[in-house]
């Protein structure tokens, strides 16, 4: 699933490792989510949403809406 994680992370000058530590996951997880190779579970998506203080749909791009664009 496409997302804005890399951009949001860069805006805060966080490395993948920084973000991984804040989310309590591995750096590989952050990388896999950022590159769209892995879709996080709902609990992890909410954790990401809480961390960036943004709604989930502002971080992760809804695939059905993405196709409609």
């Amino acid at each position: 699933m496409n997302n804005r994680l890399r951009v949001l992370r860069a805006e805060r000058a966080w490395s993948q490792q920084d973000l991984a530590e804040r989310l309590e996951v591995s750096r590989q997880s952050v990388n896999a989510i950022e590159t769209g190779r892995y879709d996080p579970s709902l609990p992890l998506a909410f954790k990401i949403s809480d961390l960036f203080e943004m709604p989930i749909e502002a971080i992760f791009i809804n695939p059905s809406k993405e196709n409609a664009q």
């Binding site: 590989q28 997880s29 989510i33 892995y38």
Partner: protein
Amino acid sequence: MARHNPAQRRYLRRFFPAMTAYVVVLFACTWAIRHYHPQGAALFLLSLLPALPILAVIAVMGLYLTEEQDEFVRHRLVTSMIAGLGIMLAFATVWGFLENGGVVPHLEAFLAFPIWCGCFGLVQCFLNLRDRMSGGGQ
């Protein structure tokens, strides 16, 4: 950051004693069978004993799967295990028919577990390599 997370450290703390026990029990039982030529129940027991630490290793792997908190790592492991299982089953099917035709020698059934471990390890290496090649770094 630590190289291994707590679940991985627990896995290693359980895995190595089980493998050490396997080597010790295997050598002890092989030695006892060759020197004492036991029969009946004693032979059954001595033949069975080396399998028990391997059963423990399988249980340790299962425990790790349930204890791993990182969902991507768990997902990656399960994917590798299933892919490894598919390769092992395909290999066993082909080998079985070739063996039936007398083309290849007999393979012992206890080799299924190490062959599966090898297959799923190779799949994990392949997936990790693919990640690195597609921008797995920073």
